[in-house]
Amino acid sequence: MSENKLHNEQKLLDLLEKKFILKESKIRREKRVEVKVEPKEIIPVLLYAKDNSGYTAFTHMSCVDWIEDGEFEVVYILWHPEEKINFFVKTRVPRDNGTLPNIDFIWRQANTYEREIREMFGIQFEGLIGREEFILEDWEHMPPMRRDFDTAKFVEKTYFYRPGREDAKDVREYVQERTDEELPDFAKKYSRD
């Protein structure tokens, strides 16, 4: 891979590094740029990418639960239609009472993603319009996509079990059995037994 090939990716990083304080920035590979920023830098970085750099398409917004660090990582994924580059903006908020700025005035479709993340993880977005209840109906437990929500226990308590499914168990244990792979400690900690 020549230097010339990553020209567009490098151009974006150079511009961003001049303007903003980035916690981390790298070109992961061709057509894929990643930066990590503080929550308060989210709106300026996204606005700059949209208005000045041509990252006009908001592709996706997702959330990762880093329970070991006590943080949620929210990922904003942008797309440059001409240069065909994916731009990932990552930010981290604490798991308890995490709050992020609302970005649905930049892209209206972000509203849907934000409502889903609010329901599934419990992150609050400042000034987000829309009912608290989105996809789940009458949910009164912990947000279900959090990793400390014990799905197996919940299912056992709520639904019926038909015998004959004794093979159904944690995938990680199954992989360990078959390949003699050591489970990492954090996986053991949140394992089902």
Binding site: E137, D138, P144, T151, F154, V155, Y159, F160, R162, A168
Partner: protein, 181 residues
């Protein structure tokens, strides 16, 4: 004069014969199985040979297909739909998700065993069942109807308390009447 029991038998045979050859399936799909219905209905497999065809509203339908996983959110709608259908009515559980949860056995919002919530007459297993399997399931239902054994709707009426108890265990915020006529 005629013996009442004997004549009732003959009436039943004619009635069941008519019923089994005009199964109107409610156009209602839950989960991914509904995608197998268009090929079953259209020219290649042509389910109308067996008298199986679609119905637009619950009150015109005889058969309720539960096609795949059933979220607790749609269980509420399914119960409403099922109770609005006219007797006799039949339920077909479609795919392994309705039998034992299938690949969604540990999901937080899908039910695992359908016959605890609704009376199921025929189960079709597979993930997904192909149109041949769907038609085989329907033929089995037709045989049951002819023999007078497809009486899930009768069971539901007689054991309403049992079904309601199970349904209310899952649907925490019950905002509809206890029976939707």
């Amino acid at each position: 004069m005629y013996n009442d029991k004997e004549s009732q038998k003959i009436v039943d045979i004619i009635q069941n014969y008519a019923r089994k050859h005009s199964l109107f399936v409610l156009a209602y799909g839950t989960g991914c199985g509904a995608i197998e219905i268009p090929p079953t209905m259209t020219s290649r497999y042509d389910a109308e040979r067996f008298g199986i065809r679609g119905a637009a509203t619950p009150r015109q339908a005889d058969v309720l297909l539960i096609t795949g996983y059933l979220a607790t959110k749609s269980l509420k709608r399914v119960i409403k739909v099922y109770e609005q259908m006219q007797d006799p009515k039949y339920v077909i559980g479609f795919g392994s998700c309705t039998i034992n949860g299938g690949m969604y056995w540990d999901s937080y919002n899908t039910i695992n065993v359908l016959d605890k919530y609704l009376p199921v007459d025929v189960y079709i297993n597979g993930c997904m069942p192909r149109p041949e399997a769907v038609i085989a399931g329907f033929v089995k239902l037709q045989k049951q109807i002819q023999a007078g054994k497809a009486d899930g709707w009768d069971k539901y009426k007689k054991n309403l308390d049992y079904y309601k108890e199970n349904q209310k265990k899952v649907i925490t915020n019950w905002v509809m009447p206890d029976f939707n006529w």
